[in-house]
Symmetry: C2
C-alpha cells in the first residue's frame, strides 16, 4: 500500500521510550494493603490481576496475614522476593510515605497509590502529600497517584487497579492510550468507546499527580509505536510550557492528542478545584496551546471514537477541498452544511471529471459537489466505485466522503473490497459515512478496518472527522513553514533599566520600554503644570490629548485624568488644570508630575496585552478595543515570542478582522505595521518575563499609514534579590 | 403517578384528527404499476406490505398482467374493488396525472406517488408537476409525493414504500412521528435511532410535496395522542407562517417538534435546491421561528434520541436550576461545564438540605453543586437514593441529573426501583446519566423506561437534554405571559398615503411614515439650495448634519451626499453646495430637491430593519450599527407585530447587549424607548406589509434620554391594480 505521504512516514522516528517500561510491563507486582475483603480497595487488585491474566508473580503484602487466597503474604515490601517492579498501594493515607520509602529500599522502581486522603481533602491532606513527595524524592520510586484508580496495559493484560472499570469484559486492546485526571470517568468512557469498537492499549488514572504527571504520560505514550492516538481527560495541568512542547512533538510525529478539557466554566472550575485541586490557568490559554499543537479538542465520547477512526487511516488531506458522494440527496445537503460550518470547502469537480463520471451515473444524478447519484444506483454497484475513483483523482479534491447507503450485505462486501483498492491508488483520505447500524461481524466493515479505510457513523460525524483531519494537516503545515522561516526576530534583547521594586510603571516609562523594542508610540511631551501655564503654542498640531502624569495613577480615565479633542492653547491650559484637580480628588496622596500632551491619533482602536502566565509562560493577547474585548470577548492569544507572519495570522483570527482587513469597500488598515507591533511586544515579554508581569497597550490606533500605541502600562514583579 | 404539572396535563385536549386517518390506516391498498421484478420500484410494495403484516387487501394494478404473485391484477384503479383507501403509484412520471384522476373516479381518497421525474429534474418535470397538481385539484385525491419513498405506520404495520428502509427489521413502533424531505435519509436515520432504542409510530417521506406538505403532516401528527414527539428533517418549507402557527400549537400541547434543518450554508442551500428544489428562505428566519415556537433544533441522530427520551419524562423544569449528583468527580466537572454553556445554573443547595444529606454521604464528599459522593458510595446504596430525594426537594433545584455509576446489575435494579419512587413524589424532572454500555435487557433500564424516568447516554448528552427541557419550558412561559398581557399595541393602523408606484421612498417621506407610527426622528428641515444660501442662522443648534434630499438617491453616503459635524452657518452653506455637486456627479439625472439639515444625534448607533418576507411574513431585525451587523452578524429577528416586552427581550438577545444595558460602570441607554421604536416598527410592517417590502432605519441613536431615528428608507411594492 503506497503511503508516501502518510503522516507517520514523513516524520522522524519516535524516540525510544524506556522510562516507564517496567511500570506497564512489570515482572512481578506487590499489592500493599492486600486483604481478603473484596468490598475494600485492598481486597481487589490481586484478583483483578490474576483473573485478567497478568503473567508475572503477584505478592500480597500485609503484616496481619501470613497467607491470602493461597498466596504467601509478606509483612512489608522489603520482604518481597526480587525482581519486583511495581507496588500497588492501598493502605491508609498516613502510612503511604513509609511504604514508598520501603519500596525504594526494596529496589521496587514503581508504585501506584490508590489511597485517598491527600491534597484533595484540604490542608491536612496537603501536608501528608508534601510528606509523600519527600518520600518519593528520597526513595527515587516513580509514583502514580495518590487518589487514583489504577493503570491498564490491555495489550499485555496488566490491569492494576480496583473498581468496576477493572472488571469490564468489554474493554479490548487497540492503538489508543488514555491518560485521565478522573479515574471513574476514564473507565466509564473507555467502556462506552469500546462499545463503539475502540480499543485501548493503555488507560491510566493519574490521581493527584504527586510525582508522575498527565504530561509525563502523554509524552511517554506519544513516543510508543503501539499508540496511534493519545487521549487525555484534563481538569488542569501545572506545566503549560510542557503541554506546548508535547503538542509540537505530536505534530512532528503526525499523531493526534485528543484532549477532553473540562473545568472551563466558573462552576465547572470550582467543581474541578474541589475534585482534585487541579491547576486552573485560563481556558483561553489552553485553547491557544491546543490550537497551536497537535491536539484535537473533544466534548463527548463519540468524538473520541471518530477522531481515532479518522486518524486510523494514517493519511492527511493537503487542503480544505472535500468531495461528497452520496445516494441520498438529503445526506448530501447535510454533509455540505457540516463541512461549510467547519471550514471545509466543496469545490466543483473539473469538467473532465464530470465528463468521465456522467456516463456511469444514473439519470437525475447531480454532479455539482455534493455528488448525488440518487437511490437509483446501488452503492454496491461497480459504477459507484468507479465514480469514487474518478472523483478521488480530481485535482480540486483533497479528501472524499462516501456516504454508503447499500442494504445488501453481499453487495457491500464487494463494494468495500473495491474501495480498498481505490485507497491503495491514492494518498487522499477516503472517509465512509456508514449510515446503517454497524454490525461488527459484517465482512465489509472488517475489510475497511483491516485496510484502514476509516468509517464513521452518521454523515454529520463523518464531516467532522474530515474537518479534524484537515485542521491537523493545516497545523502541521503552519509549523513546518514557521520552522522553514526560522526565528527572524526583528530585534535582540534590549535593556529596559527597570526599577527594582514591583508595581505599575507610569505611562511615560512604560512607553519608553515599548520604544526600546521599536514599537511606535504617539508623539507626546511631558510638561509640568507650570510649563503648561507658560505655553504660547502647542507642542504638536491640534487636536491634542492631555493626560495626567503620575506614577500613582494607573487607570487615568477612571481618575478623570484624560481629556481628548483639545483644539486650542487656552483649552489645553484649562484641561491640564482640571485633570490635575480631578486626580488629586481621586487620590489625594498621588504624586502629580504634570501632564502628558500628545497628538491625537486616528484610526481603528485595537488593544494588545501580554502576560507572563505562571503556567504557560509569556503570551500576547490581541483584540479590538472597548466593547469588542470587554463584552464580545473577541480576542486571540499567541505564545511569545512570535514573528510577524504569526502576528498576521493572529490578526486574521478575530471575528472583527474585516474591520482591519477591509470590508464593504472600506480600505484595509496597515495590518503589517500592526503585526510588527504584536511581534515586538511578544519579544519584549519573552525577553523580560522574569520582571514584567503584565503589559497593557490600550489603545493602539491603526490607520492606513501605520500603528501607534497611544497608551501603555507595564506591571513589574519585584527584582529577585540574588 | 402524580402528574399535576406534567405538560400534557396542563393543556387543552388535542383536536380530534380525522383528515389523514385513511392514509395511515387504509382498509385496502392498490399498487399501481406493480410488476414481478423486485429490482424495480413497482415490484416491491406488494411484498413489503404483505410481509410486514398489513391486515387489509392488497390489489396489484397493471394492464399487462392478469395475475401477479397469486393475486388478481387489475388493468386500472377504477377496476379495483371498493372499499380501497390508498393507491401506491410507481408508474412512469408522465402517466401519474392520469392515475390520480382515475383514483378520484374510483373513490380512492389517498395516493402515494413514488415516481420521480417531476420538479426535481428541471423545467420539463416542473410542467409535469403542474399537470399533476391540476389532476390533484380536479380529483380531490390527497397525494403524498411525487418522488418520495413512502410512508410507514409501524404501530399498525402499514408499510407503504420501497427500498431497503422498508426491509429493516430493526425499526419498531414508538411514540415518535417523523416527516422528512429526504426519504433515504429518514429511513437511515430511523434505523440508527432504533438501534439506540427509539420507536416510531409514523415515518413519512414527503418527496416533492405537490399536495400534502411537511407542515400538513407535522400539524396532523402533533394532534395525535399516540405521537409524543414530532421529528422533521427540513430542507425548506413554503409557508413560514404555518410553521410558526404549528410551533405555537406545539407549545400549547407541550409536545416538542424536533427539527433537523439543513441547506443553511451557501453550498448546502445550493445542494438542497438541486435535491428537491426546496424553498430557501433565510435560515435566520427559520431560527427565529424555531426559537419562538415549540421546536427543538438538532444536528445529529443522537440528539433526536436524547430529545425524545427527555420529553418522555412528561415533565418540564420550572427554572434553570440543576442539581448534579455523581460518584465521579470528573463527570461532575464535565456536567457543570455543559450546563453552564447551555444556560442552566447549578445553584448551591439550601443549608438545611446539606445538613440532611451530610450524615448519609461518605467522607470526602462534596456538597457544593455538583454533589460528588465519591466512588466510596455505591450508586446502588440506599443512601444514594435518599440523598437524591433530599436534593430533589431543595427549593433551589428545578431538575436533577443523576450520574449513575453502579456496576452490579442486582444493585442497579434496586436503585432504579427506588428512583421511580422518588419520581412519584416530585414533579421535577429527574434525568439519569447512564454511563455504561446500555443493555436493553437490563431490568433497571426497563424499570426506568416503564415509569418514564429518562436516561441518557453520557454525562454531556444528559446536560444537553436538561437544557432542552428548560428551554422548552421557558418558551411556554414566555408565550403564556405574552398571552396574558394581551395585544397591547401602542397604536392602531395608521394611513401612510403611499404613492402607487413601487421603489424606494425618499428619506423625508420614509421618516413621515415612521412618524405616523409614533417613532421619533431627529429634528430636521428640508431646504432648497437657494434657501440654504439665504440662511443667516441655523435651524437647530450646532453641530448639524447635512444630507442630500433626492428621491433618486437611496444610498446617500455612497453618493458623497452626507456631511456631519457642521459647526457654523458658513460651513453649512459650503457643505450643501458640495454634496449637491457630488450627488450630481454620482447620478447626473437625479432630481435634487435640496438638502436635509438635521440635528446631530448622540448615543449608541443601532439599526432596525423590517421586511415582509414572502415565506414568513412581516419580520423585524435589530442590531448595533456598522461592523456589529455587517461583520459580526450580531442581529436578532422577531416576527411582527410584537409589543415592547418582546422588543426588550430582543434587545437583550444580541451579544453586544451590554453596550445598551450598561457594562463596567457605563450607564444603560434608554432601552425602553428603543423597545418602543422596535415595537412600533413591527406594527408598521404588519399593518402595511402588502405595500411595504422593506424598511431600513439606520442609524437610530440611543442615549440615556431616548431613541431617535436619524435616517430611514422604505422600499415599496407597486400597488395592486384592483
Amino acid at each position: 500500500m503506497s503511503r508516501a505521504h502518510a503522516p507517520q512516514a514523513r516524520v522522524a522516528a519516535a524516540r525510544a521510550p524506556a522510562e516507564f517500561t517496567r511500570l506497564f510491563n512489570p515482572r512481578a507486582i506487590a499489592v500493599v494493603g492486600a486483604t481478603g475483603d473484596p468490598r475494600r480497595i485492598g481486597g481487589q487488585p490481586v484478583d483483578i490481576l490474576v483473573s485478567n491474566g497478568f503473567p508475572g508473580a503477584v505478592h500480597p503484602v500485609n503484616p496481619r496475614y501470613e497467607e491470602l487466597g493461597g498466596r504467601r503474604c509478606y509483612p512489608d515490601v522489603t520482604a518481597v522476593p526480587a525482581p519486583c517492579d511495581l507496588a500497588l498501594v492501598a493502605v491508609a493515607a498516613p502510612l503511604v510515605p513509609r511504604v514508598i520509602e520501603q519500596c525504594g529500599a526494596a529496589g521496587i522502581p514503581f508504585a501506584i497509590v490508590f489511597s485517598a486522603g491527600f491534597r484533595e481533602i484540604g490542608e491536612e491532606g496537603a501536608r501528608l502529600e508534601a510528606e509523600l513527595k519527600a518520600a518519593i524524592a528520597k526513595s527515587g520510586v516513580r509514583v502514580i497517584g495518590p487518589n487514583c484508580i489504577g493503570t491498564m496495559n490491555l495489550k499485555d493484560r496488566v490491569l492494576c487497579g480496583f473498581g468496576p472499570g477493572f472488571r469490564n469484559p468489554g474493554l479490548k486492546a487497540g492503538p489508543v492510550a488514555m491518560v485521565s485526571q478522573s479515574g471513574g470517568f476514564a473507565y466509564s468512557v473507555a467502556g462506552l468507546a469500546a462499545n463503539e469498537g475502540l480499543g485501548f492499549n493503555y488507560i491510566v488514572s493519574v490521581g493527584n499527580e504527586a510525582d508522575v504527571s498527565t504530561l509525563d504520560l502523554m509524552a511517554e505514550f506519544l513516543e510508543r509505536g503501539e499508540v496511534e492516538v493519545v487521549v487525555s481527560y484534563i481538569e488542569g495541568i501545572a506545566d503549560g510550557r510542557k503541554l506546548r512542547a508535547i503538542g509540537a512533538r505530536a505534530l512532528e510525529l503526525g499523531k493526534p492528542i485528543v484532549v477532553w478539557k473540562v473545568g472551563n466554566s466558573p462552576v465547572g472550575r470550582k467543581a474541578a478545584e474541589s475534585h482534585t485541586a487541579s491547576m486552573t490557568a485560563d481556558y483561553a490559554l489552553y485553547r491557544a496551546a491546543f490550537r497551536e499543537g497537535g491536539f484535537v479538542e473533544i466534548t463527548d465520547v463519540h468524538d473520541m471514537v471518530d477522531v481515532v477512526r479518522a486518524f486510523g487511516g494514517k493519511r492527511l488531506p493537503k487542503g480544505p477541498g472535500v468531495a461528497v458522494i452520496t445516494t441520498s440527496g438529503g445526506s448530501g445537503v447535510l454533509i455540505a452544511d457540516c463541512c461549510d460550518r467547519q471550514g471545509l470547502r466543496l469545490p466543483p469537480l473539473e469538467a473532465v471529471t464530470v465528463e468521465a463520471i456522467a456516463p456511469l451515473a444514473p439519470k437525475y444524478s447531480s454532479f455539482a459537489n455534493p455528488i448525488d447519484l440518487t437511490a437509483q444506483v446501488g452503492s454496491e454497484s461497480e459504477n459507484f466505485n468507479r465514480i469514487t475513483e474518478l472523483v478521488a483523482g480530481d485535482p480540486n479534491i483533497d479528501q472524499v466522503i462516501i456516504r454508503y447507503g447499500a442494504a445488501q450485505a453481499a453487495g457491500s462486501e464487494h463494494w468495500a473490497a473495491g474501495l480498498v483498492e481505490i485507497a491503495r491508488k491514492t494518498d487522499k483520505p477516503l472517509l465512509v459515512a456508514w449510515s446503517r447500524v454497524p454490525d461488527p461481524d459484517a465482512r465489509s466493515l472488517q475489510t475497511l478496518e483491516k485496510h484502514r479505510v476509516p468509517w464513521l457513523l452518521t454523515p454529520a460525524r463523518t464531516a467532522t472527522a474530515a474537518a479534524v483531519l484537515y485542521e491537523f494537516s493545516r497545523k502541521r503545515e503552519t509549523r513546518a513553514t514557521r520552522q522553514a522561516r526560522g526565528a527572524s526576530h526583528a530585534t535582540g534583547r534590549q535593556p529596559l533599566n527597570l526599577p527594582a521594586q514591583g508595581g505599575a510603571l507610569g505611562e511615560r516609562r512604560s512607553k519608553q520600554c515599548l520604544a526600546a523594542y521599536g514599537i511606535a508610540t504617539v508623539r507626546e511631551a511631558a510638561l509640568t503644570l507650570e510649563q503648561v501655564e507658560r505655553l504660547s503654542t502647542a507642542p504638536f498640531p491640534f487636536p491634542l490629548v492631555v493626560k495626567i502624569d503620575s506614577p500613582d495613577i494607573a487607570h487615568k480615565t477612571e481618575a478623570g485624568g484624560v481629556r481628548v479633542g483639545i483644539a486650542s492653547v487656552a483649552e489645553l491650559k484649562q484641561a491640564a488644570a482640571e485633570i490635575a484637580a480631578a486626580a488629586r480628588r481621586h487620590r489625594p496622596d498621588a504624586r502629580i508630575e504634570g501632564v502628558l500632551v500628545a497628538e491625537m491619533a486616528r484610526g481603528v482602536e485595537v488593544i494588545a496585552g501580554a502576560v507572563n502566565d505562571r503556567y504557560f509562560g509569556p503570551v500576547v493577547m490581541f483584540g479590538l478595543g472597548g466593547v469588542f474585548t470587554e463584552v464580545l470577548r473577541d480576542v486571540t492569544y499567541r505564545f511569545a515570542p512570535f514573528d510577524v507572519t504569526s502576528a498576521r495570522e493572529m490578526i486574521a483570527e478575530i471575528k472583527a478582522a474585516p474591520l482591519l482587513t477591509g470590508y464593504r469597500g472600506r480600505p484595509a488598515v496597515a495590518v503589517d505595521a500592526l503585526a510588527e507591533v504584536l511581534s515586538r511586544l511578544s519579544l519584549l515579554i519573552a525577553d523580560h518575563g522574569e520582571r514584567v508581569a503584565e503589559i497593557d497597550v490600550n489603545p493602539i490606533f491603526v490607520d492606513e499609514t501605520g500603528a501607534l500605541a497611544a497608551d501603555a502600562l507595564l506591571v513589574l514583579k519585584p527584582a529577585a534579590h540574588d
